[in-house]
């Protein structure tokens, strides 16, 4: 393949890679949360403040957002036929996901401030 246009294959591949990461992350998160004794906000901050947990969670958030973007893009491409409306919905979805990314990123950064 010439590698000029990889919109289809890249999207498909990233959707699967992020799904795999999320599977591992969620299984580990379930174990960590089961073993950790979390009673209040301070316990949450202490847990998420650990570098490994923080990095894994940041990657998890990125994976959720990327996975969500590809999935929603697929749905929009399937069902929204008029090109201008499709572009508009794509834009709205992208903006929402970027806002979620910024918000969740801010929460993680504040833990280390």
């Amino acid at each position: 393949m010439s590698g000029r246009h990889l919109a289809g294959l890249r999207g498909w591949l990233w959707q699967r890679l992020t799904a795999l990461y999320l599977l591992v992350y969620l299984l580990l998160a379930a174990v960590v949360l089961w073993r950790a004794e979390i009673r209040d906000h301070a316990d949450w901050v202490a847990l998420l403040g650990q570098p490994a947990v923080s990095v894994a969670t940041a990657l998890g958030l990125a994976a959720v957002l990327l996975h969500g973007w590809i999935g929603l893009r697929d749905i929009v491409i399937d069902y929204v036929r008029p090109a201008p409306l499709r572009l508009l919905v794509h834009g709205a979805v992208l903006l929402s996901l970027l806002l979620l990314a910024a918000w969740s990123g801010l929460i993680l950064v504040r833990l280390h401030a």
């Binding site: 393949m1 010439s2 590698g3 000029r4 246009h5 990889l6 919109a7 289809g8 294959l9 999207g11 498909w12 591949l13 893009r73 697929d74 491409i77 399937d78 069902y79 036929r81």
Partner: protein, 230 residues
């Protein structure tokens, strides 16, 4: 046996409707024979058919919600009234006859013929038994359209998504040891529409009257793309 058949006569100006029919069927009768008998009673009933043995792929239609070949579908066991409609998602020309042009346009798009850049040999281009075996489950496709017209992705984007039949044929040539057009073929299939609208719903596998598996071949194309990407 009671039938309910989709009728559309464009010159009448009437909207399409379902028309009830009744027929005394005999044991072992195939649906194509039943339709021929019904047409004797109503010569305006239009449907395509030819070989009568599941080879030409002309008489694909939707029976009780499932795409089938009428000639290989026994009437025994069909739920009554047997609802017979044209293939879903295709423009109806008349009654059960659809315009197959959107289907064949996508088939033509994958360039369904060997592409050889080297000078052609004096005699035949030989294949080993193993190379030939790779074409099993691919060359048997009769292009009836049952699979593509059962595919929701093809319903939504028939002009952009190639559909399972054309993609099975795309793999048939990608898998052929004699073909030298791999890079161009894979480049053509790239992008969000032509191949990647497939969401592995597998209606195509469910309805294929020849028992072929287009979903598997789409997966094989993706694997080939991944290998070529690296």
């Amino acid at each position: 046996m009671r039938f309910s058949i989709y009728r559309y006569q464009p010159e009448s100006g009437d909207a399409p409707s379902m028309q009830p029919f009744e027929l005394a069927v005999r044991p072992g009768m195939m649906l194509r024979e039943a339709l021929l008998a019904l047409r004797d009673t109503d010569p305006t009933l239009a449907f395509r058919h030819s070989c009568g043995e599941g080879v030409c792929g002309s008489d694909a239609m939707n029976v009780n919600g499932r795409n089938v070949l009428a000639c290989t579908t026994p009437v025994d066991g069909l739920k009554e009234p047997v609802q017979i409609r044209p293939l879903p998602g295709m423009p109806v020309v008349r009654d059960l006859i659809v315009d197959m042009e959107p289907f064949f346009r996508q088939y033509r798009a994958i360039q369904p013929y060997l592409q050889v850049n080297d000078p052609l040999p004096e005699s035949e281009q030989r294949q080993s038994p193993t190379e030939r075996q790779r074409l099993d489950g691919l060359y048997e496709c009769i292009l009836c359209g049952c699979c593509s017209t059962a595919c929701p992705s093809f319903w939504w984007n028939p002009d952009k998504f190639l559909g399972p039949a054309a993609l099975l044929q795309a793999w048939r040539f990608l898998a052929d040891s004699r073909d030298q057009g791999r890079e161009a073929r894979l480049d053509f299939l790239e992008g969000p529409f032509r191949l990647f609208r497939c969401h592995s719903i597998m209606n195509c596998v469910e309805v294929c009257p020849k028992g072929l598996n287009p979903t598997r071949t789409i997966g094989l194309i993706r694997q080939m793309m991944l290998r070529e990407m690296g």
